[in-house]
Symmetry: C2
């Protein structure tokens, strides 16, 4: 049995994660949630004084905005569109017949206006664009939501529905790259405080297909994405638990995000994979929170 399946089984046995019969889709125990809540308070302690505007979007977003985002160009395999039954009573009868005989009843479901949110910041850009020009001093946002990625896996650190906490910064190039650098420093400091071994490395997004390889190479060549890595199911292949992304003016141009002087805003975002961080803590300190090192417990629960 490999390390991923082994860790997943131990999480099921301890009750921290709850099996649902679908790989990458799990319930969480109250204890698991308590660790995530404690880590989010730690994030607040580091970022709370920066004056970010908090917004919380639900786990689905406007399909029209999702289409504009270009997600289907880069990551079509990961997206989840939401479909519904839109028929009348006769259609309903044939749907039920279909289910009864075990045929595919989903083929007549019709796409709704909603797709699952692929990353917490996706609904933000069109929301901010509609407000008008950004101040020259920039703007900072604090986001968290459940996100969906269709990549069934036995790796507990690769879930189909998981929570991402994000800070998103919009402003001048200098402003947003400083923001990104400060969170790379903070991220290392935070993880050290809770006793986690970290490295930071250059990274790329999982772009689809052969053309995607070129996009990934470009992203790496330009230092646009860094990840903070922590061992969860492998020491040689540690898991990305935070990412630090500089979009240059790509999102500003796409969404029409302008500064007050008319220039296109640059943007950057910093994301915390909350389930991954909780899993890193359980992997490193053990499945019983009561036995975690006293100094780690103190940082998380004061």
């Amino acid at each position: 049995m490999d390390m991923q399946t082994n860790f997943l089984d131990r999480l099921f046995e301890s009750g921290l994660l709850i099996e649902t019969g679908v790989d990458g889709l799990y319930g969480r125990s109250g204890q698991f949630e308590d660790v995530i809540a404690a880590f989010e308070r730690l994030i607040d302690r580091f970022g709370g004084a920066d004056g970010a505007e908090a917004m919380r979007f639900p786990p689905g977003m406007n399909r029209a905005f999702f289409e504009t985002s270009g997600y289907m160009k880069s990551f079509p395999q990961l997206a989840g569109t939401v479909h519904s039954f839109c028929g009348d009573e006769l259609d309903h009868m044939s749907l039920l017949k279909c289910m009864e005989v075990g045929e595919d009843w989903t083929k007549d479901q019709e796409a709704t206006d909603i797709v699952l949110t692929p990353a917490a910041c996706y609904p933000l850009y069109p929301t901010v664009a509609r407000r008008g020009a950004l101040p020259m001093s920039g703007k900072l946002f604090d986001l968290q939501s459940y996100c969906f990625r269709h990549e069934p896996s036995k790796d507990p650190a690769r879930q189909q529905l998981f929570r991402m906490r994000e800070y998103v910064c919009m402003g001048t190039e200098r402003h947003v790259t400083d923001f990104r650098q400060s969170w790379m420093d903070r991220g290392v400091e935070m993880m050290k405080l809770v006793g986690l071994d970290v490295t930071i490395d250059i990274a790329n997004d999982p772009f689809f297909g052969r053309a995607g390889k070129m996009l990934a190479n470009n992203q790496r060549d330009q230092n646009l994405k860094f990840e903070l890595l922590i061992p969860i199911t492998s020491v040689t292949k540690p898991t990305a638990c935070m990412s630090f992304n500089y979009h240059q003016d790509a999102f500003g141009t796409k969404w029409g995000l302008n500064l007050e002087d008319g220039s296109v805003a640059h943007t950057a975002c910093v994301g915390f994979g909350l389930e991954r961080i909780a899993l890193a803590l359980f992997h490193t300190h053990g499945l019983d929170v009561k036995h975690w090192p006293e100094e780690v417990r103190k940082v998380l629960w004061g």
Copy 2:
């Protein structure tokens, strides 16, 4: 302009809800979230000593369990199935072409193993069934998740993605009906504490079609569903902010939930519509939390 649209516009103007371009799909401000968090703490104060096991499921569930639940028989119009792109690079090229010329690109999306959770307790029953017999003294569970219902509306109290907090009780008929009654009393007391006008009334679920009318009548005749109603956008048609449901042994039979003596477990659940309760508070006490009555602020924020 009707009362619903009027209230929704005021919520947008105040920033408490954030427009996304889709009816019933909104972002929430930090202040809105803070009210929900405070009300959840009030729920904990009332229910915390009952020894419920807390579980938190993500906003999607196993499609196989959803099919077994019979939801598509009763509420096909409300369900949301999650679909993904499963093609190769050639398929991807034609998908992008489709998007470029503005044709329907969603028709080739394939159903995944996941559907959106229609009510917080749906993933619970198969989870508990797999654990084996329930103690004669029964079991209590504490749940919360985002839920999806496909019913676009300008009524801010009818959202497509919203959060439901639930307690679910499994045990003997006497045990679970006592549980339901005690929460009807607690619900009235809690709402009084936060200054909300409530009535409790018999109710039915929105069963689909003409056959559904009969199911709704049966449900009413047998007193299986009660709702706690609070005026939000109408005094004559107040909104259901809590519901109290007795399933008899229907879920016990469907999922194989048995007590230790081999009898089928009865089940009941009590649900809080968290967004609706927050909206009732904003409607009753005003959009500025600082100006809410001192005694209400004290109950919520101590």
